[in-house]
Amino acid sequence: MTGGSLRLRLLAGAGVAIALALLVAWFAMTWLFDGHVERRVEDELLVQVRPLLADLQLARGVPVAGSEPADPRFAVPAGGLYWQASTGAGAIRSVSLWDSHLPAAASAPADRWRIRRAAGPFGQHLLLMERAIRLQPQEPPVIVQLGYDLAKLAPAQREFGREMALFLVLLWAVLALAAWAQVGLGLRPLRRVGQEVERLRRDASARLGGTYPRELAPLIESIDALADAREADLVRARRRAADLAHGLKTPLAALAAQSARAREGGAAAMADGLDSSIAAMRAAIDGELARTRISLVSEGRSTVALPLIERLIAVIEQTGAGERVAFSLACDESATLPLASDDAAELLGPLLENAARHARRLVHVAVETVGDQRMLIVGDDGPGLDSAQRDEAILRGARLDSGGEGHGLGLAIARELAEASRGDLALARSPLGGLEVRVGWTLSA
């Protein structure tokens, strides 16, 4: 099951929300713009008709205009600007009305201009301003009407709407970009958590720790607690597996003893069968122990090489093979191997033991850094292996499952430990004449 992309979800949400907000803004702004333009028109009309109102008179109840508005549109038929003054007895109107008239108004307020929209002459839709003006107290009121063809405003309104839409689309793009950056910034700690969890998957002893945003702290604590529980389980499982394997070895030794007695008693065939089974069980136990160890190799550990090598050599020098060879060391006191001490001992031990077994006089051990590689080199002056034999040795010890007893298993353990710690193991010809085992790790920057 997949929950989709959180980033995509956040970005889509932000994109839609911003678009909706900008759409509402577009409607609001065009509405405000229309209102503003119409108010400007109203103001302009009032200015235009001021001379008319100033010289308006009644002659036998019919309005008479002393002077007319100067705007030429009042003089052009269907020009878009209209005025009309009317009483019950008659009316006068602008030339632009030609033989039409503005929609009749039975009454109009005397204290203010009434504004409305109405269908006018020539099929035009008009903005109408109306007011009743009483010229003399004893005279009837004159209803003055001013008309403006709203179609004249449409181009400006359309242009404003278009430009505003373009601007808002650009604004949407900028805001969407900002949202994308914001989401990226917000999700960055989660990506870091993801990388750290990946490290934790590879290394049971790793923890997230570090500095994370306050909001992620509960998650980090939960993951670390889970990692603690997992590591404890692994350690417990490792201990149980090791205890089980070691526990089996003593009965196996007892079985071997009984096999020896059977052989002495003349039951050689039975003893051979027992010995074969014991050898298989021993290989299986040793393999299982090694696998348990390899499965728990921790990253990010390191061990100072020299003291460990010295201690391992001290063990090997006690053996028959080790007591007859000399060990030469080329290793800085501060040089490290990228493994935990126990793992490094299990890797180095078999290599040193192997070298001592095959050396004539000398085993050379070196830890050196070449470029970004940390190299562990164990060579001997024994008979060595030719190229085909080296390939065969690598193949024979390639996997724990197929490695038998002896150094096949030791080499397999060393190789798998190297690989588990992100290193690699190779066989070469030693300058001393014998076999050289080279284990290399790439050092992280």
């Binding site: 070895k249 003593t250 003893a257 201690r311 001290a314 020098e317 000399a326 060990f327 050379h364 002056d381």
Partner: protein, 221 residues
Amino acid sequence: MRALVVEDDPVVASELVRGLAAAGFVVDLAGDGQQAWFNGDVEDYDVAIVDLGLPRLDGLSVIKRWRDAGRGFPVLILSARGDWTDKVAGIEAGADDYMAKPWAMEELVARVRGLLRRAAGRSSPTLEVGPLRIDTHRMTATLDGAFVKLSPLEYRLLDYLAHHAGRAVPATELSDHLYGDGDAENANAIEALVARLRRKLGADTIQTRRGFGYILPATAA
């Protein structure tokens, strides 16, 4: 030859006793750590074979207590635990060899004999050259009173130089003594041994006389 077998598993113990007895040893058996510590402390054994996982007192603690009490007989650890970390811990506790179970009796007897051979045959107990004191019985050395752990080869080289203190010993002579031949190809091995001894004893302890050989000064180190 008296041997002490320290093993709690009765079948394994009886097999060890039987195998060692067949090889000519007089064998005592201790079934737990306390008993083993007591036996090793009061009896004179030529060699002990010790299991590590013992009831009452673990094998490493038994060996440490023997060594702390000055009991110097060779000890071979025979344990189900075969990790290198365990081997290192065993040797550092004072054991002389380590074998993992299950074992082959022939190999065990051979290694016990090897231990006995190393520990035996030293008439002169100590040899002193300047601040260096060599215990030829235990095949150990101390420098200004501090114990220095030596491999058998290192010991033999130092022992030879100490017996010829003040004389430059050619590498071929050392090779002849250590390996039974004066093969010039052994020069690298001799040089590596000297380098390791210098690391353990101090850079000036063994000096090189170019064209003559290695010298352990008779009075100073």
